[in-house]
């Protein structure tokens, strides 16, 4: 019997129907049913064909993409190179910030041409070996009869038109998104006749909805609820996310707010000293974070991605805490009695964020560093961090690849090159910058990955951040779903589910 619709409870609150509005999982996860990308990433983040069947570099500054034939938009019109060009132009030239989250993906593109309707040639300003990867984030829209569609139009009048496996039915902001099967989809026939996403932001409510069978899939299940859910007959899928949560230091300023000697007097910035940073990393019990706070649904971190993903280093393994060594390092750095600091962080942004602050404080207390955890709502946290009110803080970031994170988080801040956007601690390491730039110039492949791994090893030796953990995405699903394939980017889609009958 044909399975009825699939019902998914998601924490992702779709903000807009404009697929180019903001580069947030909230939008991209749901819109990926309707819109497609030229290139996909598989579960190990390796690239695979999407609307493009193949791609190759024609030269250092030219890429050629062969497009898939016989693909139709939901209104029946054929998909051609023209639509890709429209998409790129719309993102690069038309959309203005704030609706410009994707701009960085196309900023290196000089021009796009279509030698034939199923081929595009992209000319870049410099070497952009990751262009195909960038294209794995861009949703292709259909070129309208004239001009460019604005975000307002997409939200209000024009139904979204894509080539994806599901077509748009209705949307009510903050409530639900309804989709139906695209029977003319070019790929494998979509499993469900229709799909309803219900936005349920409260985790317990998602758990409850899954428990009662009101939904078939619920994403972002809190780890602590896993046991209970399993007891009530739900099944669980999980995967380490392509992201990292870490502690970051301000290593630039001479004195820092909230950092004092144990006696309470102000002291010079201790985090300029790599010994202190290393001591704090050694004096940290990641096991508690991972096994207790994340209830096992997390991986202790020693670098920016979970070991094993492309560009990671096998040599960097998370260490057990060593309080004695940490104390020794502190003493060597001139802080035998430790010091006091305020550890800032957002509350409720990442799984285990506020709890981690306290667990970290517990660990550090054992080496004499008294940390005062200070959690704040995310927006307040950001404003204060930007204003320099913090000395040490908890943060998180994600990206499609290791180099993107290295590029923004650890590379020296440089407006011109666009590096170090998240390097709020103003950490600078020229050797690393050079090594990273070299690796980034290499075409995608094992050589590039090796270069990135080496750069990572180099920078982590200096401990500019303390990697904490890579949390896992957890999805629960009910009996009507046969299995659920997790993806490290953390999207929740109907395409990842297989019906029970199929299994």
């Amino acid at each position: 019997q044909e399975p009825k619709g699939l019902r998914i409870a998601t924490s992702y609150k779709l903000m807009t129907l404009d697929p180019h509005y903001a580069n947030l999982n909230e939008n991209t996860s749901l819109l990926s049913h309707i819109y497609e990308r030229l290139v996909y990433q598989d579960e190990r983040l390796e690239l695979k064909p999407g609307l493009a069947v193949s791609w190759r570099a024609l030269s250092d500054t030219q890429w050629e993409f062969k497009l898939r034939d016989n693909v139709r938009f939901h209104d029946g019109s054929p998909f051609t190179a023209n639509d890709v060009i429209y998409t790129i132009e719309r993102i690069r030239d038309v959309l203005k910030t704030p609706s410009g989250g994707f701009k960085s993906y196309v900023s290196g593109i000089k021009s796009v041409t279509a030698p034939d309707p199923l081929t595009i040639v992209v000319e870049t300003n410099g070497k952009v070996p990751t262009l195909p990867l960038s294209f794995s984030s861009l949703f292709v829209m259909r070129r309208p009869s004239q001009g460019f569609q604005t975000t307002e139009q997409l939200n209000a009048d024009v139904p979204p038109l894509g080539t994806g496996p599901y077509r748009f039915e209705s949307w009510s902001s903050g409530e639900n998104l309804k989709l139906s099967r695209n029977d003319h989809y070019w790929g494998p026939k979509p499993a469900w006749a229709d799909v309803t996403f219900r936005v349920i932001e409260n985790p317990s409510a998602r758990v409850a909805a899954l428990s009662t069978g009101e939904v078939d899939v619920a994403d972002a299940i809190p780890a602590r609820d896993v046991a209970g859910l399993k007891q009530r007959g739900a099944r669980i899928a999980s995967i380490g996310a392509a992201r990292i949560n870490f502690v970051q230091f301000d290593v630039a300023r001479d004195t820092l707010p909230g950092v004092t000697a144990t006696s309470g007097e102000a002291i010079a910035n201790p985090f300029k000293n790599p010994l202190v940073r290393r001591a704090l990393s050694h004096g940290l019990d990641r096991g508690i974070l991972v096994d207790k706070i994340l209830a096992g649904y997390g991986t202790a971190a020693s670098q920016v991605f979970p070991a094993g993903l492309p560009g990671t280093s096998e040599n960097l393994q998370p260490r057990e805490p060593d309080y004695e060594e940490a104390k020794a390092l502190l003493a060597k750095a001139g802080f035998p009695d430790g010091f006091n600091l305020t550890l800032a962080g957002p509350a409720g942004r990442y799984p285990g964020d506020a709890e981690s602050l306290q667990a970290i404080a517990q660990s550090w207390a054992r080496i004499g560093v008294i940390a005062q955890p200070a959690a704040a709502p995310f927006s307040v946290f950001n404003t204060k961090r930007a204003a320099g009110e913090y000395a040490v803080w908890y943060g998180g970031t994600s990206g499609e690849a290791v180099d993107i994170i290295l590029h923004t988080l650890l590379a020296s801040p440089d407006l011109a090159r666009g590096t170090g956007a998240l390097n709020f601690g103003k950490y600078r390491n020229e050797a690393f910058d050079k090594k990273l730039a070299e690796a980034e110039g290499i075409a995608v492949g094992s050589e590039r990955n090796a270069g990135l791994a080496e750069a990572t090893e180099l920078v982590m030796a200096d401990q500019p951040i303390i990697p904490l953990y890579h949390f896992h995405h957890i999805v629960g699903f009910g009996p009507r779903v046969g299995s659920y394939v997790m993806h490290p980017r953390g999207w929740t889609t109907a395409m990842q589910t297989l019906t029970a009958t199929e299994n």
Binding site: Y21, P98, V199, E201, A208, S379
Partner: protein, 328 residues
């Protein structure tokens, strides 16, 4: 009648001042809390240049007073601006959440007000009886349970264990007067039950407590004794004499609580994924989505002004000694 018009006009002009004051507080408040731009761009990937451009695009680079003047100008022209986050007109966004909130609050209050008053009246008439003690204990308990606990317990019992009710969401809706309503479909009404109950229970308790203590006080007064002396049935005394005399604080509380349900039923709305105004407001505050915050705050202020004016009107109608314009 003239007096009524004068009073209404007076109220209206006061309301405008109030709205002005509130917009100022909201505006400066949001401004002081943080910079919305960090929520607009993806902070995990955005470059400083992105942030700079977004700041300019939102007009956040202007001095706060100029931003405020621009805002006021737009509001006068009927435009609250576009949501930073959702990129929809803020006012439309707020209005789209209204039906859900309205029907939830109305149902909850329609259950709570009569039930609470009745319980309190009956209990207060004979203080110390078994029924009275039961009402007192039950209402004290109901008021002592944190609302999220109550919500979760109702879900656990009403949805997960028994499966009688859905655990959340609005269910099917149907269009009426250009908006989508749950109440008029079977499934929608079914979905409404638990959240409405969660909102109603503490209010039943609160109203019962108020009317109980009022009844105890009033039933001791000479005129209720005289009513008994003149042979009125206890029921009539309770309904026609005690009830009006205790109704002022009760109606006041009903007004306040109803307003609070419209505006601040966040816990219930989020646990039952009931997409209402309260949740929109809190989310917007946390995301510093100023246009939506301002639009929602304006609606709430208007709602409270209207509700409180209605309560005052009720008071003036009920108690001939009180004048609407309260001049003494």
């Amino acid at each position: 009648m003239m007096a009524l018009v004068t009073v209404a006009l007076g109220r209206l002009s006061q309301a405008f001042l109030l709205l002005l004051a509130m917009s100022l507080i909201g505006f400066i408040g949001i401004h002081s809390v943080g910079n919305p731009v960090f929520n607009v761009v993806n902070i995990e990937t955005a470059t400083p240049e992105d942030i700079r451009l977004a700041t300019i695009a939102l007009g956040l680079d202007q001095p706060i007073w100029r931003q405020y003047l621009v805002f006021i100008g737009n509001v006068v022209a009927g435009n609250f601006g576009t949501s930073y986050i959702y990129h929809q007109p803020a006012f439309t966004l707020m209005i789209s959440k209204l039906p859900a909130t309205l029907e939830l609050a109305c149902v909850a209050m329609l259950v709570a007000a009569p039930l609470g008053t009745a319980l309190g009246l009956i209990a207060g008439r004979r203080p110390g009886t078994l029924f009275d003690r039961a009402v007192l204990k039950a209402s004290v308990s109901a008021l002592s349970i944190p609302s999220f606990w109550l919500a979760m317990m109702l879900i656990l019992v009403g949805a997960i264990l028994t499966g009688w009710f859905p655990s959340g969401g609005r269910g099917a809706t149907a269009a009426f007067a250009g908006q989508e309503w749950s109440l008029i479909t079977r499934s929608g009404a079914w979905h409404l039950a638990l959240p409405a109950l969660t909102l109603a229970i503490p209010n039943i308790a609160l109203i019962a407590r108020l009317s109980r203590s009022g009844t105890i006080e009033v039933e001791n007064l000479d005129f209720t004794r005289f009513c008994r002396a003149k042979g009125l049935s206890p029921r009539r005394i309770l309904l026609r004499h005690t009830l009006p005399n205790i109704s002022m604080p009760i109606v006041t509380i009903i007004g306040l609580q109803f307003g609070a349900m419209l505006a601040f039923a966040v816990v219930v709305e989020s646990i039952f994924s009931w997409p209402g105004v309260g949740k929109l407001l809190i989310d917007s505050i946390q995301l510093l989505d100023r246009p939506v915050v301002m639009a929602t705050l304006t609606f709430i202020a208007v709602a409270f002004v209207v509700l409180n004016a209605l309560v005052d009107l009720f008071h003036a109608v009920l108690d001939p000694r009180v004048r609407l314009s309260s001049q003494r």
